[in-house]
Amino acid sequence: MQMVLDLLVPGIIAGVSCYGMAKGVDVYDALLQGAAKGLEILWRILPALVTLLTVVAMLRASGALDLATQVLAPLLGVLGIPPETMGLMLVRPISGSAALGVGSEIITTYGPDSQIGRTAAVMLGSTETTFYTIAVYFGAAGIKKSRYAVPAALCADLAGFFFGALTVRILFG
């Protein structure tokens, strides 16, 4: 298993490059253009990272986060979800950059290899910005009656949070 994970990243990089070259793609040019897109993404999310990390740091220093964590601990404990990830779960459906900000604050504070940090990372990687997506899609299609789209999409989010915590507990114990 460790061997597979060790080879995963270099394997993907080399494998994709070979495949691309065999298909006649200018691999190097594509790499450069993709990297430039990465910078654009970073440029776009930086302002949101600044505001979100500021406000989460304030909440943490004020003691509000500890308080909320203590209050919610019993409820989330039953579901096996670390209460420290509560902030992430609250903003995840609303804003992608906010979720990235709150999530990375959790990962940095508790450590990327801690149970809490891993759970936050898995939650972040396996859910989407539900309300934003629904607004964009129904806006573009001119939909007024959304029927059951919102509750069904929220079921998927809740399942993502619950199973995210569960798989981290099982795989990393």
Binding site: L5, I12, I13, V16, Y19, V25, D26, L31, L32, Q33, G34, K37, G38, L42, L46, L49, T51, L53, T54, V55, V56, A57, M58, L59, R60, S62, A64, V91, I94, S95, S104, I107, T108, G111, P112, R118, A121, V122, L124, S126, E128, T129, T133, Y137, F138, A140, A141, G142, I143, K145, S146, R147, Y148, A149, A152, A153, C155, A156, A159, G160
Partner: protein
């Protein structure tokens, strides 16, 4: 607008909470420290993010998205039975899903929106079962390599940022399955 309420609420809450708990002296340094951390985080994740976006670009140009789309057709025909006969829509959805799988969000969204617009022509103003399914599938994340999250973990000092991949795959799959199942069940129960 939602973020305005959240931001304002959180700043006000931290002020009130700090005053009650007597932590007011720590608030100002925490705010400055948080802002500075954001830029540090951005810089330390920039390299990984750029590299992966480059690899994704190669995948895209090599036609991997098209290959994936072909594999997905049988599954998609089952998810959208009302449009199984409409080749244009099925192709658009297949391209949307495979762009999502490869993490090409910028390419996935316009494709998904195009499919949504075409679907809505049959029932203007009302979200049909297929349209609800399309939205639910797009609100679930099915990215094969969650590059941004891996970049954040690496920036936080993780040596094996991809060790969460199996957990992310299992969780995404279960989450999208629950979403699809919920949509199927609601479509039977919903009365409007």
């Amino acid at each position: 607008m939602a973020m305005t309420v959240i931001w304002t609420g959180m700043t006000a809450l931290s002020l009130v909470c700090a005053l009650i708990l007597g932590n007011q002296s720590q608030l100002a340094p925490a705010a400055m420290e948080g802002a500075a951390q954001a830029i540090q985080l951005g810089i330390s994740m920039a390299g990984a993010l750029c590299l992966w976006m480059g690899v994704m670009e190669v995948m895209d140009r090599a036609g991997l998205a098209g290959k994936l789309a072909k594999l997905l057709h049988p599954l998609l025909r089952r998810l959208y039975p009302d449009f199984a006969g409409d080749k244009g829509i099925m192709d658009t959805i297949a391209a949307n899903v495979s762009a999502n799988l490869l993490g090409l969000g910028n390419a996935a969204t316009p494709l998904g929106l195009e499919a949504a617009r075409r679907m809505s022509r049959r029932s203007p103003g009302i979200a049909s079962d297929s349209l609800c399914m399309l939205v639910v599938c797009n609100t679930a994340s099915i990215q094969i390599i969650p590059t941004t999250v891996a970049a954040v973990r690496m920036a936080a000092g993780c040596e094996t940022p991809f060790d969460i991949l199996p957990a992310v795959w299992v969780t995404s799959l279960l989450s999208v399955t629950v979403g699809i199942t919920a949509a199927k069940i609601f479509s039977k129960l919903w009365r409007d």
